[in-house]
């Protein structure tokens, strides 16, 4: 009888300590009991991620409605619009996962920061126009109580695209489309160019298009920090970690800790590394020429930016000039410094392994074209240079936006090949509308969906530098 009493006493409830655990040792059942306790607590307090034994405040939460992979300007823009357009305050729990919070390799931070509406696709023009009005009213959109206003250091001088004889007809067509969609662009002949900008050598230029309003360049770091500040004040959770494995859960890696996060949607805004995230979800694993087998064609491409000083160079009024050869430059500040570069051709593509700068590229491929277009640039001195990645879409150099047709809870906001920064606010809103309403409401980006890779429908954009 005595043993039965003892055994009854032991089996009283989950919170009883068994004899073997009195000295603090753990038996297998302890884990089970613990998870039962956790489940009970979570059913009483839903939504909390409670680890009674250890501090998990540095880890991401267990559940999140939306996980945004990538904390650059596109990811933060999606987070901002999701929070702005949600029907009820606090309806969505959004988590942004960023691998490197110093943004040392992020395309957003290393960008030149230009914005222009001189595209050939109407959707691109609309995205850019919307982004310009977002940036103009940035202190209303991203206002945080008690924080200082953002100074984007916007320079409204516009873009000047030069076209040779063979591209002149295409440029005229494009300008017609741009004007129809509401961009303020004017066409200039070589004589008018020489009149307005006497420092240009118009040899080989048949036509030029000059953006008069809503075009220019700004400080992308300021936009990034402003978005981050606002998005944190709206309640979006941030986590520094890397997404490593995905089945139904997203597992993240912080040093050697893994934290599975259950989520309903994943947004791929990982920029140059989007293809890896897509591969984790199984996109592209299948026989070729099928929808399962279509990979995300975004790869990192390295681009260089050089800073040089030229005391006799173009004056304060010079716009961002994009030459017929693909070389571009703009003035920086009051002190005769200029920034510029050139996109290499397919054969000259540098290895995207690291962000080392190739100075010979400037000597051989950039400087001759600069000196030919602006004779004052024959004497210049390179002060600084850096390199950054384009999230280059090898299919048609335009962005991928919207859900994947098969993996329905992965959304894309990537692949913008060098014009992601200037379209970020528009794309963020489009993705948020797609998630919350089920369709694009303000700007119709149906032609930017993933399915075009399988169907082979290229939407080629002409004016890419």
């Amino acid at each position: 009888m005595l043993p039965r009493v003892l055994s009854l006493g032991v089996r009283r409830g989950p919170l009883t300590r068994r004899p073997g655990t009195l000295r603090g040792g753990f038996s297998l059942d302890w884990e089970e009991k613990l998870s039962e306790i956790k489940k009970k607590i979570q059913s009483v307090l839903p939504g909390t991620s409670l680890h009674p034994l250890y501090d998990s405040s540095h880890l991401p939460p267990d559940h999140s409605d939306v996980v945004i992979v990538g904390g650059g300007v596109l990811g933060l823009s999606v987070a901002y619009w999701l929070k702005k357009l949600e029907k009820q305050r606090g309806a969505l729990r959004v988590l942004v996962v960023e691998r490197d919070l110093t943004y040392s390799q992020a395309s957003s931070a290393l960008s030149l920061g230009g914005i222009h509406q001189q595209f050939s696709l109407p959707e691109n023009i609309h995205l850019s126009l919307f982004s310009a009005s977002f940036l103009r009213n940035i202190n209303e959109h991203l206002a945080v109580v008690d924080a200082p206003p953002l100074d984007l250091q916007f320079n409204p001088l516009g873009y000047l695209w030069l076209a040779s004889e063979k591209d002149a007809a295409a440029m005229e067509n494009n300008v017609k489309v741009q004007r129809q969609e509401g961009a303020k662009v004017c066409l200039m002949s070589p004589d008018q160019l020489r009149n307005k900008f006497p420092w240009i050598n118009t040899e080989g230029v048949a036509l030029a298009s000059y953006g008069m309003e809503d075009e220019g360049w700004f400080d992308p770091w300021c936009l990034l920090q402003g978005l981050r500040r606002k998005v944190q004040s709206m309640g979006v959770l941030f986590c520094q970690g890397e997404v490593t494995r995905e089945s139904e859960l997203v597992k993240m890696d912080n040093s050697v800790e893994y934290q599975p996060v259950e989520c309903a949607l994943v947004i791929n805004a990982a920029g140059a590394w989007s293809a890896q995230i897509a591969a984790l979800a199984g996109i592209g694993k299948g026989p070729p020429d099928t929808l399962q087998g279509t990979k995300l064609p975004v790869e990192p491409r390295k681009r260089y930016v050089y800073v040089w000083h030229c005391p006799q160079g173009p004056g304060l009024e010079s716009p961002l000039v994009a030459d017929t050869s693909g070389t571009y430059f703009r003035r920086e500040g009051l002190g005769s410094n200029y920034l510029g570069g050139r996109s290499p051709t397919e054969e000259e593509e540098p290895d995207p392994e690291n962000l080392e700068v190739d100075h010979d590229f400037f000597q051989d491929k950039v400087w001759p074209h600069l000196a030919q277009r602006v004779p004052a640039f024959e004497t210049l001195k390179v002060q600084n240079a850096w390199a950054g990645y384009y999230d280059y879409n090898t299919f048609d150099q335009n962005g991928v936006v919207g859900p994947h047709p098969l993996v329905v809870n992965m959304f894309f906001a990537t692949g913008f090949s060098g014009h992601g920064l200037q379209q970020a606010p528009g794309v963020g809103r489009a993705v948020a509308e797609m998630i919350l309403e089920g369709r694009f409401q303000t700007i119709n980006l149906d032609s930017f969906l993933f399915s075009r890779f399988y169907l082979g429908e290229k939407i080629q954009e002409d004016n890419i530098i």
Binding site: S104, L110, A143, F154, P156, L157, G216, W221, L316, E317
Partner: protein, 231 residues
């Protein structure tokens, strides 16, 4: 053609504008100077600890901004009709055929959208935008349609205009007099004046004392050291 009446159209903001401040000057967006006070008020403490207070302050800030937009809303309408309180006097209608030569919009809450109204004034010769608190670089890029006629422009005392906005005045080739005094956001007034003079050779640029650059400048803004590219 000069107008026989030779009056300039005066858009004057109501006097009560300056005294209607929200709760302790919310945020820096509408009133940049106040946000630089380092004194930690009770209100900031409350905002940090209670979501309600933070929301209310954000709500009032939004209201203030909406009021500025409300003032600039007449951009698409051909006729500006006075409301039932008769805020626009009836004599205005007699002058509808007369080309407007000069606009004095000093101390006015005009912003980017409101400047669109000026595009219709094809014979505008003199524009004064002194001390307008919402004029910034974006607004200056909107002045190019007035290039054929504009001869005199004054931007004195506008707190948000910087040298980047001044650079887009190069479209105004008929400008003969430009006043850029007292622009606090311009980083180097002396150098800016020289570059603007180079940009507009026929224009007399006034307002900057070139000896100013030799004095000690204002204290440097704190450098943002986390960014990968130095500014």
């Amino acid at each position: 053609l000069s107008s026989p009446f030779s009056q300039s159209l005066r858009l004057v903001a109501p006097i009560g504008n300056r005294s209607t401040r929200g709760i302790h000057q919310l945020g820096g967006a509408v009133d940049p100077e106040s946000s630089q006070k380092k004194r930690r008020t009770m209100l900031q403490y409350l905002s940090d600890h209670f979501y309600d207070v933070e929301f209310l302050r954000g709500y009032f800030l939004q209201n203030k901004m909406d009021k500025v937009h409300q003032k600039n809303r007449f951009r698409d309408k051909e006729w500006i009709r006075p409301d039932k309180y008769g805020h626009f006097s009836q004599e205005f209608w007699n002058f509808s055929e007369v080309p407007v030569e000069a606009v004095d919009a000093s101390d006015c809450a005009i912003n980017y959208e409101g400047l669109e109204n000026l595009h219709l004034l094809k014979e505008l010769q003199s524009l004064s935008l002194q001390r307008c608190p919402h004029m910034d670089d974006w607004c200056l890029s909107r002045l190019y349609p007035l290039a054929d006629s504009l001869q005199e422009l004054s931007l004195a005392g506008c707190p948000r205009i910087s040298e980047r906005g001044l650079a887009c005045l190069h479209h105004l080739q008929n400008l003969r007099r430009l006043d850029i005094s007292n622009l606090p956001s311009v980083s180097n007034p002396g150098l800016t004046q020289i570059l603007v003079e180079e940009m507009l050779p026929n224009c007399k640029v006034v307002g900057v004392n070139l000896a100013e650059g030799l004095k000690l400048g204002p204290e440097e803004q704190p450098q943002d050291t986390d960014r990968p590219i130095p500014a």
